[in-house]
Amino acid sequence: MLVPLDMLRAGEWAEVEEVSGQPSWVGRLAELGIRQGCRVQVLQPGATCLLNVAGCKLCLRGGECSQILVRPVSL
C-alpha cells in the first residue's frame, strides 16, 4: 500500500517508494537521503514535519511531504 508521507503518524516507519515533483528538489531530497528505497521514521507529523532519516533529523515542509509516496513498514 502506497501512502503520502504526511499520512503517517508519529513514530511510524516507512520505506520511500517514489519522490515526485520538480527535478531540482527531488535531487536535493535525494542528497539528504530521502530517495527510493530508504527508510524514514516520522518523529512529528504536521504541516512542517520532523523525520528521522538514517539517524539524522530532518524537518520538511508539509506541502512537499505529500509528493513523497511511502510504503509503511512495521519493525
Binding site: 539528504l32 512529528q44 530532518l58 524537518c59
Partner: protein
C-alpha cells in the same frame, strides 16, 4: 624559509564542524574573501607548518555540488579554478561527520570528479565512539581511493596528521578515481562536451546534464540557446531509455558507491541507541513545551539586549559628549568646529551606539546556532512563518528587528534561500525598532495622555504603533513573495544537528566579525549621511544682515549665562513687585534668545527652505513645514526628529534619551516639558493642527512606524545584498507606505474628530 604555498579548500555539509576545523588550523590569521555579484563570503586563513605555507579557503557548507544559484556556483567555480581572483586549490579537504558517513560521503564522491587531490577528514570521532560505531580508517581509505584522517576538530586531535597528509597529497598530486557511471552516460558526456567545442570542462557538462533546472543549465542555455536545449532534452531521453534517468541516476550511483565503502569500513551496533539529543529534542521540538521554551529563550535574549546594552550605550554617548565638548573648547567657533562636533563626532557616535546591541545579539545567535538550538527554533516557527511565504529561519531576524533592524538584517545570514532572505531583509525595517520609541513617547505624551483622557489610552496607542509593524511586515513579505520574489516554493528541508557545546572562541569570533562588518562598512555610509544632513541644516549660516548665526548664538549664550543667576533669584521670589516682574520677563527673553536664534537659523537653512517649499506635499498629512523638515532631517536616523523638533520650536536641542527617562535629570525634565508645551501651544494656534492635534500626532506616528528613516538600515541592506537596488527599493516602498498610511490616518482622524 617557506618555499611554496599550498592552497587548500575545505568542503563539507553544514554542521560538520568545518568552521571549527578552519579556525583550529588558521587561528587568527584570517580574512574574508568577497566575490563580485554574489552575496557569499568565504573565509580565508593561513597556516605554516614545517616550513610550508598553507592558504586555507573555507567554502560555505553544502550538501552537494549541484549549484542552484550564482551563490552556490561560486564554490564550484572556485574548486575548478574558474575564478580569476583565486588559484585552483592544490588539495580539497572533504570534511565528513563520523556519525553519519552514509550521507556525508555523497559530497565526497562528487569532489572526486574534480581532478584535484582529495583528503577526507572524518570529524567527530568522539561522538561516533559514544554511539558505538567502529570505523576502520585504512579500509575506508582503500574503498574511497583517497587518504582518510580521523580528527576531533574541537580539541585538535588528529590535526597534525591531517596537515601532514594534506602536504603529502599536494606533493604527490595523485588525481582520485571518480565514481564510475554507466557506459551510456560517459558517451553522452563526451558528445555534449564536443558540441560545446570543449569550452566547458567535462565535470560541468555532467552537472549540466544532471542538475535539471540548475545553475549550470541556466547559464549555458543563456549562452548557447535553443541548440543546447534540444541536445539536452535528447540526451536526457536517451539516458531515461537506457535506465539511467536524470537526476535519480546520480543519487543512485553515488549512494551505492558510498554504501559499499561504508559497509567495508564501519561496524554499527545493532539498533540505534537513544542519544542525548533525542531526549532533549523530545522536549525542545514538542509542539507546546518546545514553543514555551522558545518564548522563554527569546524573552531572555531581548531582555538582555535591553538590559546589558543600555549601560554600554550610555557610556558611548558619554564619551561622545566628552569628545564633542573637548573639541568645542579647543577650536574657535565656525564651520570647521561645527562639522567636527556635530557632523563627525555626532555621526560616529550614532554609529557606535548600535554596537552593544549588535554584539549582544550576535553572542546569542552564535551560542544558539553553535549548540544546535537555532534549527529547532526555526522548525517550531516554520508553521507560522510559512503563512506569509517565509520559512522558520526568518523568525529570529524579524524578532531581532524589534530591538534594531541593523542586527536583525545581519542575522538574515542564517537564511540560505535567497528569495526568503531578501524578503526578510526588505520587511525587517517595518518592525518597530527601539529608535521609534522616543518619537512615540513624545507625541503620545503631548497629545494622547492629556488630563481627562482614559489612563489606558496611551498604552493602547503605543501598542497599536507596534502592531502596525507586526501586521504590515508579513503582508509586505507575502506580497513580495507573490510578485517580485516569486519563484518555485522553496524546498524547506533543514537538518536538525546534534546538540553540541558552543565554544567561547567561536562565539567571540562571531561577535567580532559582526561588529567589525557593521562599523567598518555600514558605519562609513551612515557617517556620510549624517554629515550631509548636518550640512543641509548648517548652511547658509549668515543671516540677512551679514552676521553669522553661530557667532550670534554664542553671544546670546554668554549673555544668558551672565544673567542666569539673577534669573533664578527672580524666579524664586514668591510675590514679585512690578519692577521685578518686568526684569524677570526681560531676563527670560535673554535666556530664550539662543534657542530662538537657532530656530531662525534652521528655518532659513537649506533643509528649512526645502521644507517651506515642500509644504503642499505635507498638507494632506496634516503637517506644517516644521513637521516636514523634522521628518526629512530624521531620514538618516529617526530619533533625530526629537532634537530637530526642539530646534524648530525654539526650545533648543533635546536629547531623545531624555524623553524616555527624564527622571534622572531636572534640567532634562524641564527641557522635555517645555518642548511638549511648545508643540502643544504652537499647534493650538493653528487652524488645522489646533482642532485636529490628535489626528496630526497619530499621522506623524504612523509615518514613523512605516518609514525607513534610518541610514544605518539602508547601509546594512546594501552591505548584505551587495546591491544598491534593494536599499533603494526598501526606501521607496516604505516611504510610499508611510506617506499613504499617514495621509489615511489624518484624513480619517479629521473625519472622526470633525
Amino acid at each position: 624559509m617557506p618555499t611554496a604555498t599550498i592552497t587548500v579548500a575545505l568542503v563539507g555539509n553544514p554542521n560538520t564542524g568545518k568552521s571549527t576545523l578552519f579556525n583550529a588550523l588558521s587561528g587568527l590569521r584570517q580574512r574574508v574573501g568577497n566575490y563580485p555579484g554574489v552575496t557569499v563570503e568565504m573565509k580565508k586563513g593561513q597556516l605554516t607548518a614545517d616550513g610550508v605555507n598553507f592558504e586555507l579557503i573555507d567554502l560555505p557548507g553544502t550538501y552537494s555540488l549541484a549549484a542552484r544559484s550564482p551563490d552556490e556556483m561560486v564554490a564550484v567555480d572556485l574548486l575548478l579554478g574558474r575564478r580569476p581572483e583565486e588559484p585552483r586549490p592544490d588539495v580539497i579537504v572533504s570534511i565528513v561527520d563520523a556519525t553519519n558517513l552514509d550521507r556525508h560521503l555523497y559530497l565526497t564522491s562528487q569532489l572526486l570528479d574534480l581532478g584535484v587531490p582529495v583528503v577526507v577528514a572524518v570529524n567527530m570521532i568522539d561522538a561516533a565512539a559514544a554511539q558505538g560505531l567502529t570505523i576502520d580508517y585504512e579500509k575506508l581509505s582503500t574503498a574511497l581511493g583517497v587518504p582518510v584522517v580521523p580528527i576531533q576538530a574541537n580539541n585538535g586531535t588528529g590535526l597534525p596528521q591531517l596537515v601532514r597528509t594534506i602536504r603529502q597529497a599536494a606533493h604527490e598530486r595523485k588525481i582520485p578515481q571518480p565514481v564510475e557511471f554507466p557506459f551510456a552516460f560517459d558517451e553522452i558526456i563526451a558528445h555534449i562536451t564536443k558540441e560545446l567545442s570543449d569550452q566547458v570542462p567535462p565535470v560541468l557538462v555532467r552537472r549540466l546534464l544532471w542538475d535539471v533546472g540548475g545553475y549550470v543549465e541556466q547559464w549555458l542555455l543563456a549562452e548557447h540557446g535553443e541548440r543546447l536545449h534540444h541536445l539536452l532534452a535528447k540526451a536526457r531521453d536517451q539516458l531515461a531509455a537506457a535506465n539511467c534517468p536524470v537526476p535519480a541516476i546520480e543519487a543512485r550511483t553515488r549512494f551505492a558507491w558510498v554504501r559499499q565503502a561504508v559497509a567495508a569500513a564501519v561496524t554499527k551496533p545493532a539498533g540505534r541507541p537513544i542519544t542525548w539529543t533525542d531526549r532533549i529534542d523530545a522536549v525542545l521540538t514538542h509542539r507546546w513545551w518546545g514553543t514555551l521554551v522558545f518564548v522563554a529563550v527569546m524573552f531572555v535574549m531581548f531582555q538582555s539586549i535591553f538590559l546589558w546594552a543600555q549601560p554600554l550605550m550610555d557610556q558611548i554617548d558619554a564619551v561622545r559628549e566628552w569628545l564633542a565638548q573637548s573639541v568645542a573648547e579647543a577650536l574657535p567657533s565656525g564651520p570647521l568646529r561645527a562639522l567636527l562636533v556635530e557632523g563627525v563626532i555626532g555621526g560616529i557616535g550614532s554609529v557606535l551606539v548600535f554596537l552593544p546591541q549588535i554584539l549582544i545579539l550576535f553572542a546569542f545567535i552564535a551560542v544558539l546556532e553553535d549548540c544546535g538550538y537555532m534549527a529547532r527554533a526555526a522548525f517550531l516557527m516554520d508553521r507560522i512563518m510559512s503563512r506569509c511565504g517565509l520559512s522558520g529561519k526568518s523568525f529570529i531576524p524579524l524578532l531581532s528587528s524589534v530591538a534594531c533592524a541593523v542586527p536583525g538584517i545581519m542575522a538574515t545570514r542564517v537564511i540560505e534561500n535567497r528569495r526568503d532572505r531578501l524578503a526578510t531583509i526588505v520587511v525587517a525595517p517595518l518592525m518597530s525598532c527601539s529608535a521609534r520609541l522616543p518619537v512615540y513617547v513624545l507625541l503620545i505624551g503631548a497629545f494622547v495622555a492629556r488630563p481627562g483622557s482614559p489612563a489606558w489610552l496611551p498604552g493602547l496607542v503605543l501598542f497599536a504603533m507596534y502592531m502596525i509593524g507586526f501586521t504590515v511586515a508579513p503582508l509586505v513579505a507575502l506580497a513580495l513573495k507573490r510578485t517580485l520574489l516569486r519563484g518555485a516554493p522553496p524546498v524547506f528541508v533543514m537538518e536538525l544537528p546534534s546538540y553540541r557545546r558552543p565554544k567561547l572562541t567561536a562565539v567571540l569570533r562571531r561577535m567580532f566579525d559582526a561588529g567589525k562588518a557593521f562599523v567598518v562598512r555600514a558605519g562609513t555610509i551612515i557617517l556620510a549621511a549624517m554629515i550631509i544632513v548636518w550640512a543641509l541644516l548648517y548652511f547658509p549660516y549668515i543671516d540677512s544682515n551679514g552676521d553669522s548665526y553661530p557667532a550670534r548664538i554664542e553671544q546670546a549664550e554668554e549673555a544668558a549665562a551672565a544673567t542666569a543667576e539673577r534669573l533664578k533669584e527672580l524666579q524664586a521670589i514668591k510675590n514679585p513687585t512690578p519692577e521685578q516682574q518686568a526684569e524677570l520677563a526681560e531676563l527670560e527673553d535673554v535666556a530664550a534668545l539662543p534657542d530662538k536664534l537657532n530656530g531662525q537659523w534652521k528655518r532659513q537653512s537649506l533643509l528649512g527652505r526645502v521644507g517651506l517649499w515642500m509644504e503642499p506635499v505635507f498638507e494632506p498629512l496634516g503637517w506644517d513645514w516644521k513637521i516636514g523638515v523634522a521628518a526629512m532631517a530624521s531620514f538618516p536616523a529617526r530619533e533625530v526628529i526629537v532634537g530637530t523638533f526642539g530646534l524648530l520650536y525654539d526650545v533648543g536641542d533635546v536629547d531623545p534619551g531624555l524623553v524616555l527617562d527624564p527622571s534622572t535629570d531636572e534640567e532634562g525634565q524641564a527641557k522635555v516639558a517645555s518642548l511638549t508645551r511648545a508643540v502643544q501651544e504652537e499647534w493650538a494656534k493653528d487652524p488645522i493642527r489646533g482642532p485636529y492635534g490628535v489626528p496630526v500626532a497619530l499621522s506623524i506616528m504612523v509615518f514613523f512606524a512605516l518609514c525607513c528613516q534610518c541610514g544605518a538600515t539602508l547601509a546594512v541592506i546594501q552591505r548584505e545584498t551587495k546591491n544598491w537596488l534593494w536599499p533603494a527599493f526598501t526606501f521607496i516602498y516604505m516611504t510610499t507606505l508611510a506617506y499613504g498610511g499617514a495621509m489615511l490616518t489624518f484624513q480619517l482622524g479629521r473625519l472622526i474628530v470633525g
